[in-house]
């Protein structure tokens, strides 16, 4: 195994392009190192991108959005009051990953590139409309977060491509987000179902809604029907009922050691309702300020 600590993304993709066998990028290592120790994967090339300038930074962009470096940890996000004020749902989603110790290492980018349909931060990022900057030999392209995972453990990234940052849009007035997951315990577990929702209100009426489900299909699901179920409403009982039905209908889950098809389908609707209520409350509070 070859271990590299490139000083720039340019160097990182050069190393990746030349590498043979299995290559893994290493940021916090909370998935890669665990998989390595568990004998699930033995990379031939390990490229540690934590030493590149700027990867630990959370930056406000000129349009009011945020750029989050690939080595920014969950704990750093949670302790960033402005980011957490704009995107509480996203920050809380990341904060649900693992333990206190894991939070000191784990990153948004790692959670995304691990390719798990149960990743907690991914539905929240997709709901927020986040994208990632992807650098390859031909330069940098911007890719919507939902276009990165292609199936369990798989992504659309090429061998010589690397994510260089996560881009979160500006929080608009009257907006609010939330993420909830179901686990049988209280912490230290993997989502059996997850749901991220981002809403924009005009007064009390929902004008935009992005509803994203996790762990109920091979990739996270951004479901338009769920959004349509509540757009134009004040999230009244009938709208919530429609939302639950749409969320359950969108599910394409499996039965595995973590839950059954029936359970995931039902609970997706329950979580969608609960997350929508939180996002709606936040949007109302945001709209007032």
């Amino acid at each position: 195994m070859h271990y590299h600590t490139p000083a720039s993304f340019e160097d990182a993709i050069k190393i990746a392009a030349k590498a043979t066998g299995i290559t893994r990028f290493l940021a916090g290592g909370t998935d890669v190192l665990v998989q390595l120790r568990a004998d699930m994967v033995t990379p031939d090339t390990l490229i540690d991108i934590k030493h590149i300038d700027g990867v630990h930074d959370i930056t406000r962009t000129s349009d009011g959005g945020w750029t989050i470096g690939v080595a920014v940890t969950g704990a750093e996000m949670t302790e960033h009051p402005e980011l957490a004020g704009d995107w509480p749902g996203l920050v809380e989603a990341m904060d649900l990953v693992g333990s206190t110790q894991i939070q000191g290492r784990a990153t948004l980018t790692g959670n995304l590139c691990n390719g798990s349909p149960a990743a907690d931060s991914v539905p929240a990022m997709v709901a927020a409309g986040a994208s990632v900057s992807v650098r390859g030999p031909d330069g940098t392209r911007e890719v919507a977060v939902e276009d990165i995972p292609t199936g369990p453990g798989r992504t659309s990234l090429a061998q010589d491509e690397v994510v260089t940052a996560v881009n979160i849009p500006a929080r608009v007035a009257g907006g609010g987000d939330a993420y909830l997951r179901f686990i049988p315990r209280t912490e230290m577990d993997i989502a059996v179902v997850g749901c991220g929702i981002n809403l924009v209100l005009d007064g009390d009426t929902i004008t935009q809604a992005r509803v994203v489900l996790g762990a109920v299909a091979p990739t996270v699901l951004l479901d338009q029907a769920c959004g349509d179920a509540i757009i134009g409403t004040t999230l009244d009982a009938a709208a919530l009922e429609r939302l639950a039905k749409a969320a359950s209908a969108a599910c394409n889950p499996i039965t595995d050691k973590r839950g059954t098809i029936e359970f995931r389908t039902k609970v997706a609707g329950v979580l969608a309702q609960r997350a929508a209520k939180i996002a709606y409350g936040r949007a109302q509070a945001g709209g007032a300020s």
Partner: protein
């Protein structure tokens, strides 16, 4: 006071909770656990394991592994004795597969190499050719016609004719005429219950360091609940003289019964013998789950008849336990404990020990008892609901007391079940209001407790301090308890006593730390050894004073004349006697060796409040109270810890822990991420009430406390969840998908 008197009141040290002697070592990392041993020239072992649930081993090709640089030796079954029979053959067959791999994770070969990584890589290079066989992992399926036979001819003589060959032992006990009893009942409820296998979940994986030379002399360091047992079995499996193998027990990071057996130790010894180098093996968590001993899974039918006034007229239970690919599932304990809390005229219990393609079960805290209690106490709860009776009053009405003929045969001596029920009834928890969505459950539980071979030595130092040497690994605070009991007898401070767990070369045989026996049996032996030392101390004082040894008493750490007639001498403190012991007769050491048989049985009553989310089926245990008879709590904080620990493990077993097997017979959840043991935030504060009804068989009244605490939780939680959900749950774990499905059936 005669030295043989039983003392149950007026204690000075017993009943206090001083700091634990191993505390500083453990919080500073100085304590040496199984994996903390190193030796010059040490090699690392790794084990190749079957990926199949059931497969004939056609061939094992080790050539590629042997060619890897750093590999020093490979062992297979051929490196062990081939003339074993009976129990030890079964142990060997589990430690290293013979002709057939019997479960996913079954060891088939092992390698020793110069590093852990090389050893693991080499294990992957061992090429095993398998012919897969049909498999079965479910207890009911394993008993059914046409199920794959795990090993023909294993059944013993107890098994009635006509049963599947996987049924290898049968148990039947009880008394009276159950059919006549059922005829007297106003209401009879019969139901079917199932529990899944759970793992003891100890934090420390199995680990050992073995050294065995060509001269047949060996040393073994390992993490175990009983190193004399390890010595006995390893020497048998490797053909050594028992005394030539010295075994030392490390500090232990939990055992709960799962470390009463051997897995890697004989393998490390075989590799060491072959390489003439020390060999260390440390299991991964995945290996612990796949290839050590979880508990049995069960399928049970319980039928109970009750009169309108709550009197139980008859009870019958059938308990089928799957214990993996070997005989030994503790079905007789399930059967014998199930109805033990109740004074029954007519009772019958039947047990089946069933083999399947799973790892060999090992003891887990009151092995067998919690499952039976789950079924029985659920049915009693349902009877109380249907007849509109208070669950504690009904249990009091039928409770076993002194003189009751136990469901499993003997007549109970003094027991404390009624006292636990009265304390539960009086506890504010029992009358506290419940919020909507919450339910309350009650359950009793029973465990036998045990004595066993015990040997203790207590040596006095020249400054009058004391070293106690015991042979029972400290799995629950026993070093503190031994020091307290010795302090009480010797009349010296707790801090002046150090208790050490000796290796097998330093004491006579000591039975494993199991059966909640240590505070009882090693405690009894410690007290008797202290009394032996006191007698010798009094003898030295008598000689000095020139009076009869019988005329000397021992009071507060001093020899004193027993009365005015004995003479007028100042009290002679222990330190003064010890200072001159070399010239007054030599070292002073107290001994005691015996197999004490007066272990007092123990009962508990638990109260649980649970809240169920009707939309997701998720259960939160919101309040929990353990009431249990300790006989006498030597170190009450440790006793409370045992009560809380049993409840915590019971919560996991009841709600989320389970062995999940795929259709391929492989274990799906072999890591703590997916084997859902409770985390700290899953648990409420677990309140405890220590009831003390002294055990007449122990000089301070001790009953074992470690196991009884896990007997009631499964049922108490099931009764609380069923009340909260408004539907009876019959199967464990009561995980959210299962509860949601039950709620859907209810509606």
């Amino acid at each position: 006071m005669s030295l043989d008197d039983v003392k149950t009141t007026g204690f000075k040290y017993v009943g206090t909770s001083p700091d634990r002697p191993d505390g500083l070592d453990k919080v500073t990392g100085r304590a040496k656990f199984g994996a903390d041993a190193y030796a010059p020239g040490m090699l690392h072992g790794a084990i190749a394991r079957s990926p199949h649930a059931h497969a004939r081993i056609i061939s094992i090709d080790t050539s590629k592994a042997e060619a890897l640089e750093g590999v020093k030796a490979i062992v297979t079954r051929a490196d062990f004795r081939d003339d074993l029979r009976g129990d030890h053959w079964n142990v060997l067959e589990n430690v290293m597969a013979g002709d057939t791999a019997l479960y996913d994770g079954h060891a088939v070969a092992a390698v020793a190499a110069t590093s852990v990584l090389v050893a693991r890589d080499a294990a992957k290079l061992i090429e095993v050719t398998y012919e897969t066989l049909p498999h079965v992992t479910d207890v009911d399926e394993a008993m059914a016609d046409g199920a794959p036979v795990i090993r023909a001819g294993t059944a013993d003589k107890s098994v009635p004719e006509g049963l599947h060959p996987n049924v290898v032992r049968y148990h039947e006990s009880g008394h009276g005429d159950v059919e006549a009893g059922f005829a007297e009942a106003d209401l009879i409820i019969e139901d079917h219950f199932r529990t899944e296998a759970t793992h003891q979940g100890y934090i420390e994986p199995h680990a050992c360091l073995a050294t065995l030379g060509g001269d047949g002399k060996g040393d073994l360091w390992c993490c175990t609940q009983g190193h004399w047992n390890v010595q006995k079995i390893c020497s048998s499996l490797l053909g050594l003289e028992t005394s030539q193998l010295r075994v030392t027990a490390s500090e232990i990071g939990g055992g709960f019964g799962g470390k009463t057996v051997v897995f890697i130790e004989p393998v490390a010894l075989a590799l060491s013998r072959k390489t003439n180098r020390p060999v260390k093996i440390v299991m991964s968590r995945s290996e612990v789950f796949r290839a050590s001993g979880p508990t049995a899974s069960t399928s049970m039918d319980v039928r109970i008849g009750m009169k309108k006034d709550g009197t139980i007229t008859a009870a019958k239970g059938v308990f089928r336990l799957q214990g993996g690919a070997f005989p030994g599932a503790p079905m007789e304990f399930t059967a014998m404990c199930a109805f033990a809390p109740y004074n029954l005229k007519h009772v019958k219990q039947i047990g089946y020990d069933v083999m399947s393609n799973r790892p060999k079960q090992a003891a887990y805290r009151a092995p067998g008892s919690p499952m039976g209690a789950f079924a029985v106490e659920s049915v009693i709860d349902e009877l109380c609901n249907k007849l509109g009776l208070d669950p504690i009053e009904v249990r009091l009405k039928n409770a076993s007391r002194e003189g009751t003929r136990a469901s499993f045969g003997p007549t109970f001596q003094r027991v404390g079940l009624v006292e636990t029920l009265e304390a539960a009834k009086a506890h504010p928890h029992y009358s506290a209001p419940l919020k909507p969505g919450q339910g309350r459950g009650i359950s009793c539980g029973f465990w036998f407790n045990f004595g066993g071979e015990t040997s203790v030595s207590l040596a006095l130092s020249m400054d009058g301090t004391v070293q106690i040497v015991v042979g029972t690994p400290d799995i629950g605070g026993s070093r503190a308890s031994m020091a307290l009991m010795a302090a009480e007898e010797l009349g010296i401070p707790y801090e002046n006593i150090r208790c050490t767990i000796a290796d097998t070369a330093s004491l006579g045989y000591n039975e494993v730390s199991h059966g909640s026996r240590v505070t009882y049996a090693s405690g009894l032996a410690t007290i008797k050894a202290a009394r032996d030392a006191v007698k010798k101390l009094c003898g030295r004082a008598a000689a000095k004073w020139g009076i009869d040894p019988e005329a000397v008493d021992w009071v507060d750490g001093c020899a004193v004349p027993s009365g005015p007639n004995a003479g007028d001498f100042d009290p002679m403190p222990i330190a003064q006697i010890c200072k001159s012991m070399g010239r007054t007769g030599g070292p002073i050491v107290g001994h005691f060796e015996a197999s004490p048989e007066g272990a007092g049985v123990s009962f508990a009553t638990h109260i649980v409040d649970a809240e169920v989310d009707p939309e997701t089926g998720k259960t939160s245990v919101v309040r929990y109270t353990v009431v249990q008879d300790a006989g006498k709590a030597i170190h009450p904080a440790y006793v409370e810890g045992q009560y809380q620990g049993g409840a915590a493990q019971g919560i996991g077993w009841a709600l989320n822990e389970e062995y999940v097997y795929g259709k391929d017979g492989r274990l799906q959840n072999d890591v703590f991420l997916d084997y859902r043991i409770p985390v700290a935030s899953d648990l409420p504060m677990i309140d405890t009430v220590i009831v003390e009804v002294p055990n007449p068989g122990h000089p301070h009244g001790v009953r074992g406390v470690g196991e009884t605490s896990i007997c009631p939780p499964l049922a108490a939680i099931a009764n609380a969840v069923s009340a909260a959900a408004g539907v009876r749950l019959h199967e464990l774990p009561m995980n959210p998908p299962r509860i949601l499905a039950a709620l859907a059936r209810r509606d």
